[in-house]
Assembly symmetry: none
DNA sequence: AATGAATGAGATTTCATTCAT
DNA sequence: GATGAATGAAATCTCATTCAT
């Protein structure tokens, strides 16, 4: 065997390693700035600076600000759903347990992290980037609704849950998580929120509310005009 | 009596009437554009155009884009809370009924309307406008939390509700409303949502979940690290 | 004689009087603002406001900002020279006396007043308004130089003054007056200047310096390059 | 030793050389335009164009038009006074000689050059830029008056000059220099002025006028009102 | 005659993107 | 590959001027 300059094989030289890491560094920098200031108000140069490179370098890796944003979104919202699906397929216990598990996990792995802030950005500025909006819709919103919808339905069929309207219930389940995400990433986290406590409370309320053997809410609603 | 040309007295001339209406027209135009595209991505000239005036005219009424935004926010978020307070002070029935009433009303009068969209914008871009963030915090967030917190507490003291952690419960109650607002104003309202049905479902679930005489949720949560 | 509505003949009604006074009021307002802020930095609306009328009214009397400026300049620089000319024609005493008289008068009637400030403006921004520059040159600069030049020459011919180079001496005579005007109207009159004392000193120095029977200054000048 | 392509070491690349030169190029362009048109009437884009760069480039080097102006002023008015001070400290000859030397030098090194035009601009528009006005007052006007005042006083104490009022005499001395500067930079240098001849004449007149052993001016002044 | 709401050309300034080094 | 100087389109805001009332 001949001695090479780089003793260990398959380990790229430092320069190379830097280079390979660049896209990730850029996406991380972009993510944090987008969350802080919004997409439109974030300057390409600031992203580059936070990633420790120069303005020009950003364009070696991404065609522009919009492409960078898409890459960030893709990175953070792709694999998350599939986890959930797998979990549900394997799950053998009660739906209540599964729901607890899913929500807790989702919060820990996704909502609580950077993706939580991204959600805010996508919701606020997605309309200006139609390609991105479609992506988010297809990859995040729809699968989530389908997953939770299926869960609720299974619970109803098995008699574990009362007969509730499914899409609406899903909507209600997601709401507090959204609220948590926004609380952590908006207006300088003004209200100190104890996320685990909120989650616990939410599950407590929801599961109690969903429990079969109960009559429906005692207060019939009356809407003014649009029924 | 002789008929004069101008039949009604004290009617300002057309020019004056236009002038008086301008600020409102501008705020309306600004509101819809801010909600559509976000604050940063909305051009002052577009606001003027949508209001049917030219660029320069906007500046006759508002000192700049930021002042315009503040005016819009103030317009849509001011008096709403005080309604709620008054309602609670007068209310003689159960807290369940009051909660239903408050949430339904709030949705109809505020969330469902333009202010729903504004919420999104403020949450997404408020960090860049500190004065505005403070305003929103003081005028909207804090009063809302206090109002609902007081309601929950009264319910608990009277035995109507279980002993639940108050701030967390408030957080959970607000979540689905937030979700509704974002659904209507983001990503082109892709998922058709039946807001009244969601509200009904939410109240159904929540009130059932809050009802006293129940043991707490059967599923104990386990959080990975941060307890 | 028939009784008329307005009892006194040839006195226009109040409304009329206002109207006749307008151009003057506008020129006065313009003058003071031009001197304060410069021509370019003065807004037409501010001129109108200081004159106590509205923006539109200005344009009833002057075709625009530039025409207004010309009118102001014409007003303040026209008749001043002819005074001087007449004075010189009539004068029978020494040229020293005449020089004292002319400078003192000019300072009192022109330099010290608003025209002093105007000079600054014309010198600073006249280049951008060629018509005005020509006017000032023809009506102010040239006549002044000719008048003072003739005075000096008469003094030399009569033996009252030494043989000094005429145009240069005129330049020197004018300098301190210019300095006085700028001192009063620039940089917020920072250095408190006692104008009469300066004038007295100037005349004292100059007349002593001009007196015949003296040898020229003892210090021969040497200029570096351009002889 | 092998000859390399780039013969001289430590020569920055062309790009760098351009960069280093830019601020100077911009200040030069700004100076000439400010003098030509005044500060307010000069457009930032024209400055950039005259410097051979685009609008945006200007802002890479200066934060705005006002900062650019300040930089220009600082560049041209800083070290000039200190020269004069040093000269006076060292000088051993007569005050007449020193005065000749100072004025001639000042004209050659400062007044005659670009700074002469700047003076006009600062006097005309300094009021709108208070920071700048202060700078000019502190760095130019006050030191000049102090320097010349000290000179005159020394001359009086040594018996070389008559007893003249000091600040007023300084004012008179400065006047013609100011006039020279304005002549060269205003109204398109209409009157051809022979600056060295004017200076010579000024010094001739002044020094004669200051000479001791003379009685004061024969013509007593009478001011109309304000004594 | 007088007003002042409205206009839009034009000024300053910012920033995504390019490209010579 | 990396840089950062340079660009110029586009955004915000100003103000001379017009014109309906």
């Amino acid at each position: 065997m001949r001695a090479t300059k780089t003793s260990t094989p398959n380990v790229p030289p430092a320069r190379q390693r830097r280079k390979d890491a660049r896209p990730q560094e850029l996406r991380d920098a972009a993510l944090s700035l987008f969350v802080e200031k919004g997409y439109a108000a974030t300057r390409a140069e600031d992203v580059a600076a936070r990633a420790g490179v120069s303005k020009g370098t950003l364009y070696l890796y991404y065609a522009g600000k919009e492409e960078l944003f898409q890459a960030v979104v893709r990175e953070h919202f792709s694999a998350t759903i599939h986890d959930g699906m797998a979990l549900m397929d394997e799950h053998r216990g009660s739906m209540s347990e599964l729901l607890s598990l899913l929500m807790t996990r989702w919060w820990e792995r996704v909502g609580q992290g950077p993706a939580g802030g991204l959600t805010k950005v996508v919701l606020a500025e997605g309309r200006n980037l139609p390609e991105l909006a479609q992506l988010y819709l297809d990859e995040v919103i729809r699968p989530t609704h389908e997953l939770l919808g299926a869960l609720i339905e299974r619970g109803i069929r098995s008699g574990e849950f009362r007969a509730v309207p499914v899409p609406e219930t899903v909507h209600v389940l997601i709401g507090p998580l959204l609220h948590l995400m926004l609380s952590e990433h908006s207006l300088g986290h003004c209200l100190a929120v104890d996320a685990p406590a909120v989650l616990r409370t939410q599950l407590d309320l929801m599961l109690n509310g969903l429990k079969s053997g109960l009559k429906s809410s005692a207060v019939p609603l009356k809407f003014s005009k649009k029924p």
